[in-house]
Amino acid sequence: MSSPTAATNSVAPLALELCALSKTFKLGGGMLHKSQTLKAVNDVSLRVPRGQVMGLVGESGCGKSTLAKMLLGLTKPSGGDVLINGKAIVNANQKALARHIQPIFQDPYSSLNPRQRIAQIVGLPLRIHAIGTPKEQAAKVDEMLDMVGLPKRAAQQYPGQMSGGQRQRVAIARALIMRPDLVICDEPTSALDVSVQAQILNLLLDLKDEFGLTYLFISHNLAVVEHLADRLAVMYLGRIVEEGTREQIFNAPRHPYTQALLASALTPEPGLGVPDIGLGAGQPDPTQPPSGCAFHPRCPVAKPQCSQQSPALSAIAQGTAQATHQGSQARVACHFA
């Protein structure tokens, strides 16, 4: 802990810190049936150092998007805290929050208002926050469109006249025009053609270096995350089951779910067929999560103890003093990892 790297790392400022963040939804509940509770996000703690890309992966329905909505201030957490640059946002003014954190959404076909011109869409943040005169705003919009690689004439077009990749560039321009610190990318490439995905990812990386951004990159595409992320967190049924650097997760996954997730990635090699990941049936009903470790019904190495005790997300010692430091330490939630 007293190594020089640890010391420098521990003062490295955090762009985002989640402390025991939870979100519970009440479902149904009419005259005839009882309401059920769904723990979409359950006790999630995560630290994202400034300037890094934190990848968040997991199956659909595991709570990734709910987490993103809470960070953006669109949904109120049921418990826990979100700190951005060390300040709590739970009761913060939405406008103040918007200056620090901006989203890039998954579907560029629904993230742009079809009735507004591109110049209006990209300039909206400046108008809402009353930054600069209309002339300065227009100049900034032009500059921003240029930075995301769109031609000048795009400003006067409507979203309907653009391709998916161009629309996603517009969405990126809108998110970055106020120079936020943190950008929540909610599967920003999964709705795009494969040929366009790489362009958008490289654009995101370039802009990150240019503006000194921090990304929380939500995805279920492991190839994309491997290309982009510095650190990775794996979510299962609302909980983080493993967290570590990209190398730790991809080279030495500890949690059986992470291992299965990595094994499930499709390879382009012909003749291999669809990989059998041995997870059996689909995800359990999130309104009735399994007892103990939520993963035990699908786990290939489950023991009787797993259905009784819920494993805590705890640090794993990795030998070197450097690795045991908080900033780069891997954490896993499994009895046997």
Partner: protein, 302 residues
């Protein structure tokens, strides 16, 4: 050679036929829009220019000149092209001034009910939960009331007049606006551009008026055309029953009511305002149909 080529020719012909049918369909759609617009525009001009177009004063009675038949009749004359009514008033002039009443009531009723219904529907769709429960309750209550009956009862309490009819219908016909605005807003509420605006800290009026409303306007305009036609017919109904526009105003419904005792011997007394009503309502419905096709994304109309 011709036989070898024939499949290609056939497919080409098929293509041409397909293309023609698509063209035909789209012109037919556009034609309904064009015809509707043309009729409404000309009736609008007639209503605006009534004092200059009408050959006589619509209120001027001439008991010596009662029940003159229209020009196509043996005893008709061109001084009164559409004849006169039982008080000797010029029928064409009354018809022309009646356009004003019908169009005014139709438009104002659609405006009032559109404002009420859209506001309620957008709020219910956007907020959901309790707001939605309250609006849905009001909506089902309103749908449980027969419009004509309630309007008749209220008009007989307050006293029929053009203002009463307009307000009553305006306060009664908002249901379709509310239903359409509510479901359309529900679909948009979770659209990512609405979320993006929320995440930016846009004030609520901005989100509702600039992000939501323009994207549901197409559906609302179609409802509005239906409600204009509906209001015109209801005004005629109420006036026919004596609880709407009061005599001597030249409402078309009132003209039909006043002529009903003569319908067996002078059928034109009710046919002429009836036809006018039919043409106007048909034109508005054609316009609404055409607008619906136009507002469907990508020109699709399935």
């Amino acid at each position: 050679m011709a036989q070898i080529l024939s499949p290609q020719v056939a497919s080409e012909q098929h293509l041409v036929a397909h293309w023609q049918s698509r063209l035909f369909r789209s012109t037919l759609n556009n034609r309904s829009l064009a015809i509707g617009l043309l009729i409404i525009a000309s009736l609008g001009i007639v209503a605006l220019l009534a004092p200059w177009l009408a050959p006589h004063d619509p209120y001027l009675q001439n008991t010596a000149n009662r029940m003159v038949p229209p020009f196509w009749h043996d005893t008709g004359s061109w001084t009164h092209p559409l004849g006169t009514d039982r008080l000797g008033r010029d029928y064409l002039s009354r018809l022309i001034y009646g356009t004003r009443i019908s169009l005014f009531i139709g438009l104002v009723v659609a405006l009032i009910s559109g404002l009420i219904g859209t506001t309620m529907g957008v709020l219910a769709g956007y907020f959901g939960g309790r707001v939605d429960a309250v609006v849905s309750y009001l909506l089902t209550t309103r749908l449980a009331m027969p419009v004509v009956l309630v309007a008749l009862a209220m008009a007989s309490l307050i006293g029929g007049s053009m203002l009463t009819v307009t307000l009553l219908l305006g306060l009664l016909l908002w249901d379709r606006f509310a239903v359409v605005a509510r479901s359309a807003t529900q679909q948009l509420r979770d659209a990512e551009y609405v979320q993006a605006a929320q995440a930016l800290g846009c004030p609520l009026p901005y989100i509702l008026l600039r992000e939501v409303l323009p994207n549901i306007a197409g559906a609302l305009i179609v409802v509005a055309t239906l409600e204009v036609a509906n209001a015109i017919l209801l005004e005629a109904t109420l006036s026919f029953l004596g609880m709407g526009v009061q005599p001597p105003s030249p409402s078309w419904g009132l003209m039909i009511a006043e002529g009903k005792t003569y319908m067996f011997f002078q059928p034109w007394v009710i046919t002429i305002p009836g036809c006018a009503l039919f043409v106007l309502v048909l034109a508005i419905n054609l316009l609404g149909d055409g607008l619906r096709d136009l507002s469907a994304p990508g020109g699709r109309n399935e």
